[in-house]
C-alpha cells in the first residue's frame, strides 16, 4: 500500500509537470478529442505535447505490456493513474478504436510479430483505425456478411461493401471481417487488417439526422491484402469479432455516464415545471445507480468475475439512459434547444447531440440484440 501511495505522488507530480493547462479543461464536444493518425490535425500545440508526453510513458495504454508500447502498470496503479488524471481534470490524451477495440483483440489473438508491429503504433496514436463489421443487408445479423476474401497464394483479394464504418474517411487502417468460406455462416469468417490507402478502397460519408457524419460507406474493389495481416486462424475470425464486440459494448456503455458526473438536474439549472423536475430526479437516480454499476463492472472485470455477456447488459442500459438524458435536456431547454444554426445555441448543439444519441441503441448491436444476448447467455432462456 505504501508503494501505491508513493506511486500516486509520483504520478501527480508528473501530471502536474506534463499536462498542459489547456488539456485540463473539460472537452466541449466530441470534436475536442484527440484521435491521432497520419492525417490528424492537432487543434493546438498543447494537444500534441500532451499526447507525446503520455505516449512516451506508455500511459495512453497504461495496462498494456511495456514491450508493446504500454505502461506495464498493474490494476492498482492503473486505477491510481485514472484517479489522478480525473482529479486534475486531464483530458484523455488519445481517443482511439485501436485502444478500445483492436488492441485488446490483438493482445489476445495476435501473433507476436503482429503485436510488435501494430500495438506500439496504436499506443502512440500513429495510426487511426476504423472497424469494418456491418454490411448493407446484414444489419443486426452481423455474421451474415458477404464481403469476400479469396486466397491468392501470398495475398487475399477482397471485394465487397461495408457500412456504418465510423470515421472511415479519416482512418488509416481498417480491421475488417471478411468471408473466406461460404460453407458455414459463423465458421467462414476471417479477421483482416489492412491499409485504407490500398488500391481499391474508397469511402463515402453518410449524413445523419443530426447533421453530423461520423459514419461512412466503405467499398472494396479487388483490394490486395498480404496474408500476414490475418489475425488468428482463417475461418475463425468470429471468435476475434465477438471478443472485440465485448470491448466495443463496454466502451459505448460508458456514454450512459454522460460527459460529466454532474446531476442532470443541476446541469440544466432551475426547473419550474414540477413534473419535469420529477422526471429529471428519477433520471438522476438511474444515472447515479448506473455510475455505481459501471464502477462495479470494471472491478468485476479486473477481478475476472464478470460474465462475458455483461457488456451487453451495460451497453443496453447505458445507451437507453443516454437517450433519456438528451430527451430531458431537450425538454428542459424548450424552444432554445430547438435552434439549429444560431450562435446562441452553439450551432444547435443540444438538438444535434440529442439526435446523435438515437444511434446509440442501434450502433454496436441494437438494444434488442443486447437483450437477446443477456436472455440467452446469462439467463439461459430456452431458444434464445
Amino acid at each position: 500500500m505504501a508503494d501505491v501511495e508513493q506511486f500516486r505522488r509520483e504520478v501527480r507530480d508528473w501530471l502536474e509537470a506534463n499536462c498542459p493547462a489547456e488539456m485540463r479543461t473539460p472537452m466541449r464536444s466530441e470534436k475536442d478529442a484527440c484521435w491521432g493518425g497520419r492525417h490528424f490535425e492537432f487543434q493546438s500545440d498543447a494537444q500534441k505535447r500532451w499526447l507525446d508526453a503520455m505516449a512516451s510513458r506508455g500511459w495512453t495504454v497504461p495496462d498494456w505490456p511495456k514491450d508493446y508500447g504500454g505502461g506495464g502498470l498493474d490494476a492498482a496503479q492503473t486505477r491510481v493513474l485514472k484517479e489522478e488524471m480525473a482529479s486534475l481534470g486531464c483530458r484523455p490524451p488519445l481517443t482511439s478504436f485501436g485502444i478500445s477495440m483492436l488492441g485488446p483483440a490483438l493482445l489476445k489473438y495476435g501473433r507476436e510479430d503482429q503485436k510488435k508491429r501494430f500495438l506500439p503504433e496504436i499506443a502512440r496514436g500513429d495510426i487511426r483505425w476504423c472497424q469494418g463489421y456491418s454490411e448493407p443487408g446484414a444489419g443486426s445479423d452481423l455474421a451474415d456478411l458477404q464481403t469476400r476474401a479469396e486466397d491468392k497464394g501470398d495475398h487475399y483479394l477482397v471485394n465487397g461493401q461495408k457500412v456504418w464504418t465510423s470515421y472511415a474517411d479519416q482512418a488509416d487502417w481498417i480491421f475488417c471481417l471478411v468471408r473466406t468460406s461460404a460453407e458455414s455462416k459463423h465458421g467462414g469468417i476471417s479477421f483482416l487488417l489492412f491499409d485504407m490507402e490500398s488500391p481499391g478502397v474508397s469511402t463515402k460519408p453518410i449524413l445523419l439526422i443530426s447533421g453530423y457524419s461520423p459514419f461512412c460507406e466503405t467499398f472494396f474493389d479487388d483490394v490486395k491484402v498480404p496474408k500476414d495481416q490475418l489475425v488468428g486462424e482463417v475461418n475463425k475470425g468470429w471468435d476475434v469479432a465477438k471478443y472485440l464486440l465485448g470491448h466495443e459494448r463496454e466502451m459505448i456503455s460508458g456514454m450512459g455516464l454522460g460527459g460529466d458526473k454532474q446531476a442532470l438536474g443541476r446541469a440544466v439549472g432551475s426547473i419550474d415545471d414540477p413534473l419535469l423536475r420529477a422526471e429529471i430526479a428519477a433520471f438522476d437516480v438511474d444515472a447515479l445507480a448506473f455510475a455505481a454499476m459501471s464502477e462495479r463492472f470494471i472491478d468485476q472485470l479486473k477481478a475476472g468475475g464478470a460474465h462475458p455477456a455483461m457488456p451487453s447488459m451495460m451497453k443496453y442500459a447505458g445507451t437507453e439512459l443516454n437517450k433519456r438524458r438528451h430527451e430531458l435536456v431537450m425538454a428542459a431547454g424548450g424552444s432554445d434547444a430547438l435552434e439549429w444554426d444560431s450562435d446562441r445555441s452553439g450551432g444547435g448543439k443540444a438538438a444535434r447531440d440529442w439526435l446523435r444519441t438515437k444511434a446509440n441503441s442501434i450502433e454496436g448491436g441494437t438494444s434488442e440484440i443486447q437483450l437477446g444476448i443477456v436472455a440467452k447467455h446469462i439467463l439461459r432462456l430456452p431458444g434464445a
Binding site: R277, L288, F290, M313, V374, A375, L379, L381
Partner: protein, 376 residues
C-alpha cells in the same frame, strides 16, 4: 472495489444456506402467518441469528459484537429478502444499533440485542408517508424529565418490542431537523397505547398513541434537541439496509420467475422461448444488477463516513425500490394465473416489496431527496 472481499464472501457463504434453509418461506413466513402469530416472526430463529453472530453484526467488538459494517449487514439483508425471512434484524440489529451506538444506552441495550433477547422498534413515522423532519410528537419538560404526547404509525415490530425509540420534538417546528430528541422507551410504559396491526405482507407494525408518557431525562439518546444525529444514523442504516433487502426480494422473485419461464409450456412451447418475455426478463436482470451496485456503493460510502453517503443512500433506496417493484410485477404477470394464488410464493414477494418500498421512504421520497441534495 465494489466487489465482496474474501471475508465478506465467507459471510455470504455462511448466511445464504442458513437463510435458505432455516429462514425459508414455508418454515417461517407462511408458518407464522398461518398460525396468526402476534409477532409475525419466530424468536427461535432470532436466537439462531445470535448464535451465528448476526445480531451483533454492527455492534463494536469492544462491546461483544462483530464490529462489521453496512456492507456486511447488506450481505445478510439480501439473503433475508431473497427468502422473505421475517425477523427483527433490520430494525433491531441495524437501525436501532446505529442509533444507540456511542450513547449511554449502548451499554444497557447491546447485551440483550447480542443475545437476541431484545427486540427494538423505531417510532419515527407519523403520517401515511415517511417524512422524519415533519415530526410533531411533542416532548415537554416536566421536572427532571419529559412528558411525551403524540401519535406514531408504521412502527415495525412495535408490539413485540422491548425497546421503542421514539423521535419527538423538544424544540423547533415540524419541517425542521433541529429541536428533535430521541427517547428510549421500555416495554409497558404507562400512557403508551399500542395497536398491533398486521400489514399486507403479514409482518406486524404498530400504531402508537402516547398520552402524557412520563420519561426520565436519562431516556434521552444522545443530546436533548440533538436527536437528529442518532435519528439520521438510524435512518441511513435503515434505508441502506432496506435497499439491500429489496435487492434480495427482487433477486428472489426474478430467480423464481426465470425458472418458471424455463418450465412452463404454452402453445406447445416453453414460454421462455417467446421474445416478448425474453426481452423483459433481460431488462429486469439489468435493473436488479444496477440496483445491487447502487446499494453496495451506498453501504460502502456509509462505512467510510463519506459525505456523499446520504445522496447515495437515497439513490440506492429509490433504485432498489423501483427495481424490486418491477421484479414483483413481472414475476406475478409472467407466472400467469398461478401467480395470483395464495398457494404460490411469488405473490408473497409482491406483498413484501410493497411494505419495504414504503419503509424508510418510498422511491418518490428518495428521488425528491436526490434532487434536494443535488441542489435543484
Amino acid at each position: 472495489m465494489l466487489t465482496l472481499t474474501d471475508d465478506q464472501r465467507m459471510l455470504q457463504d455462511a448466511v445464504r444456506p442458513f437463510m435458505a434453509d432455516k429462514g425459508a418461506i414455508k418454515a417461517q413466513l407462511r408458518h407464522w402467518r398461518d398460525i396468526g402469530c402476534k409477532d409475525g416472526f419466530g424468536h427461535g430463529l432470532w436466537k439462531q441469528f445470535a448464535e451465528l453472530g448476526l445480531t451483533g453484526i454492527l455492534i463494536p467488538e469492544a462491546r461483544g459484537g462483530a464490529g462489521l459494517g453496512q456492507v456486511e449487514a447488506g450481505v445478510v439483508l439480501e439473503e433475508i429478502g431473497r427468502n422473505l425471512t421475517p425477523s427483527p434484524f433490520l430494525t433491531t440489529a441495524v437501525a436501532a444499533v446505529r442509533a444507540l451506538d456511542g450513547s449511554a444506552h449502548a451499554e444497557r441495550w447491546f447485551p440483550g440485542i447480542l443475545a437476541a433477547d431484545t427486540v427494538a422498534a423505531l417510532a419515527i413515522d407519523e403520517g401515511r408517508h415517511h417524512n422524519p423532519a415533519r415530526i410533531a410528537c411533542a416532548a415537554r419538560r416536566q421536572g427532571n424529565g419529559f412528558l411525551l404526547d403524540g401519535e406514531k404509525q408504521f412502527v415495525v415490530h412495535g408490539a413485540s418490542a422491548d425497546l421503542i425509540l421514539v423521535a419527538a420534538r423538544t424544540g423547533g417546528s415540524p419541517g425542521e431537523t433541529d429541536g428533535l430528541t430521541l427517547f428510549a422507551l421500555d416495554r409497558g410504559m404507562a400512557g403508551v397505547e399500542i395497536d398491533n396491526v398486521a400489514l399486507a405482507d403479514s409482518s406486524k407494525a404498530a400504531r402508537l398513541r402516547l398520552a402524557n408518557v412520563a420519561v426520565d431525562a436519562d431516556a434521552v439518546v444522545g443530546e436533548v434537541d440533538g436527536g437528529w444525529g442518532p435519528i439520521s444514523r438510524a435512518l441511513g442504516a435503515g434505508r441502506a439496509g432496506a435497499a439491500a433487502e429489496l435487492v434480495g426480494v427482487a433477486a428472489g422473485a426474478s430467480e423464481m420467475t426465470f425458472d418458471y419461464l424455463k418450465q412452463r409450456k404454452q402453445f406447445g412451447r416453453l414460454i421462455g422461448e417467446f421474445q416478448a418475455l425474453q426481452h423483459r426478463a433481460a431488462h429486469l436482470f439489468g435493473e436488479i444488477e444496477i440496483a445491487r451496485a447502487a446499494t453496495f456503493k451506498a453501504a460502502q460510502l456509509l462505512d467510510a463516513q463519506d459525505q456523499r453517503a446520504e445522496l447515495f443512500v437515497s439513490v440506492a433506496k429509490a433504485k432498489a425500490g423501483r427495481s424490486a417493484a418491477l421484479a414483483v410485477q413481472e414475476g406475478v404477470q409472467m407466472h400467469g394465473g398461478i401467480g395470483m394464488t395464495d398457494e404460490h410464493d411469488i405473490g408473497l414477494y409482491m406483498k413484501r416489496e410493497a411494505v419495504l418500498g414504503e419503509l424508510f421512504g418510498s422511491p418518490r421520497f428518495h428521488m425528491a431527496r436526490v434532487a434536494e441534495l443535488s441542489g435543484y
